[in-house]
Amino acid sequence: MENLLEVKNLRLYYHTSKGAVKALDDVSFSLKEGETLGLVGESGCGKTTTGVALLKMPSPPGRIEKGSQIIIDGTDIVPLSDKEIRKNIRWEKISMVFQGAMNCLTPVYTIGRQMLETLNEHRMMEEKQAVELIKEYLGHVGLPPEVMNRYPHELSGGMKQRVVIASALFLKPRLVILDEPTTALDVIVQAQIINLLKELKKTFNLSFIFITHDLALEAEVSDRICVMYAGKIAELGTNAQIYGKEPLHPYTQKLLQATPLLHKKVDTLAFIPGTPPDLINPPTGCRFNPRCHCTMEKCFTEEPPLIEVEPGHQVACWRCVK
């Protein structure tokens, strides 16, 4: 299988009045056709930023820095103009289900009208044709066509999320970025949505980037997992490498230990003390060093490189450097 997406040395800084927030610092990963890549990490580690960077639409003070490469289907989209991106990339090749999008549906318009608008934003087509298309996609996400005439407040959270997912699929993109698509939903609806996504992936031969902070959920959807910390990749490995045995990065280990398990009663859960660092002045050396339980001297002076410890398994930790 060929690489659908290749991200090389991606850097995205938010140039705020207080300084540059280094939200993404030298992030590289690739994604194969038909694969699901999971992005996990605590709040503020740059998951959403990665998503919007791939669409080349960072929120205002943000800018993709020089030297970054986002190669989709063999073309680097970083140098492309906004017009070209809109015409050939956004929604045509990559689309995104934004974080909290289901709560951002306008209460005053019907679902159909809002879906039409999304559609028109990306490709003009005749109204009749568009309505047919919308109905077709509502069907794909398991909603009856009447939903078109309903208002957001008449739908449950799960139905709204389905609507948002349908809107991302209109133009048959090859890659869909799903940013916390189930965070606000309860477990049953979450499981239903995950099942739906898996089915859609098969039907449309999609690739996903699945963003969440829930490691347990990631285990059920992603072929490969990319653990991010403070704008950098801490560990990247296959599902089996992360969940099958002990992961290698202390951050991943801690995150896993902090996940409560349904079928195993524990007395105390581990947790990571402290909070993620300020991304304007990140700590020198390894960015995780203030919260790590197994630091060495080198962790405070030099940034650990992301190295491949076994095929397909990359870790950025000095402990893993032989």
Partner: protein, 338 residues
């Protein structure tokens, strides 16, 4: 451990939304939303009691009823042997001192214009406790230490937006502890916090509970935290409890199909599940509480439902031994979850 602190009997809350003028003209009938529809349970002193259910099952409404933030349509609430369902102002105020609530959204539960100091002083000012301001500050500092926000002085002058989600939820907990309550109602206290901090908050809450001998009503839709956190669990569906019992018992030997579905839906961090489409022993979405199905209210989504389930009167909670109760008429026929 065997003394009952809070007892709720046949509690109901039916919302009757006002019709708009247009609806009235169109001859619309008033809808009755049966958010809580006959809930009974009792919580022991020093116990952590979990209330579990999907979105819309009436958990928050039950919590608010217990907090006396809304008035029940019928039923009784007994606290510490005293009927507190309808009380006068003074009694309510006294009750408020004993029962406190932690809200779901740590970002919204504190006034954004209050400094942490003011947030924490508020209960003391309202209840005129702990004497003068200096003594009150003393109490505030103590509460901050209790929830492990140290050094406490540093937090006094901050605004809520200057705290992380976890720190905010700690502050919210501190605010409830300041009045030395007997019971805390925690409505999804960690569902909006990061996974890494979630464990920390639950751990802290558990410690506080042990140290101060508190009783918790813990509301969540996430069974995995409930397993870790609670002693007993009541599973709620459409305003009614369908299964209740010790946490381990409920999760390891669920009887009611709804509980089984809830358990099946919980994701677990194990390899090799990517290509499997999970079998969920439940279909569709939760019906509207304005239109509750006849018979067993779960029958519309139940994979084991028969015609009888829809036609027979609604099953009451039945004892299955070991303090395990359930409300499934066909429990003998239902296969055990693996």
């Amino acid at each position: 451990m065997s003394e009952v602190l809070l007892e709720v009997k046949n509690l109901k809350k039916h919302f009757v939304p006002h019709l708009t003028l247009a609806q009235t003209l169109a001859g619309g009938k008033k809808r009755v939303i049966k958010a809580v529809d006959g809930v009974s349970f009792s919580i022991m002193k020093g116990e952590i009691f979990g209330l579990i259910g999907e979105s819309g099952s009436g958990k928050t409404t039950t919590g608010k009823l217990i907090m006396k933030l809304i008035e029940p349509t019928s039923g009784t609430i007994t606290f510490d042997g005293e009927d507190v369902t309808f009380t006068n102002k003074a009694k309510t105020q006294e009750y408020r001192r004993k029962v406190q609530m932690i809200f779901q959204d740590p970002y919204a539960s504190m006034n954004p214009r209050f400094k942490i100091r003011d947030v924490l002083l508020e209960p003391l000012i309202i209840h005129k406790m702990h004497g003068n301001r200096a003594e009150q500050i003393e109490r505030v500092l103590k509460a901050l230490t209790e929830v492990k926000l140290t050094p406490p002085e540093e937090f006094l002058v901050r605004y809520p937006h200057m705290l992380s989600g976890g720190q905010r939820q700690r502050t919210a907990t501190a605010r409830t502890l300041i009045l030395n309550p007997k019971m805390l109602v925690a409505d999804e206290p960690v569902s909006m916090i990061d996974l890494s901090t979630r464990a920390e908050i639950l751990h802290m809450m558990k410690e506080v509970q042990r140290d101060l001998g508190l009783t918790y009503l813990y509301i969540t839709h996430d069974l995995s935290t409930a397993r870790y956190f609670t002693d007993r669990i009541a599973v709620m569906y459409l305003g009614r409890i369908v299964e209740m019992g010790p946490a381990d018992e409920i999760i390891d030997n669920p009887i009611h199909p709804y509980t089984q579905a809830l358990i099946a839906a919980v994701p677990e961090p194990q390899a090799g599940k990517v290509d499997i489409i999970k079998k969920l022993p439940i279909s569709g979405e939760i019906p509207s509480p304005a239109n509750i199905p006849s018979g067993c209210r779960f029958h519309t989504r139940c994979p084991y439902a028969t015609e009888a389930c829809a036609n027979n009167p609604e099953p009451e909670l039945m004892d299955a031994g070991n303090g395990h109760f359930h409300a499934c008429a066909r429990w003998k026929e239902i296969p055990k979850a693996q």
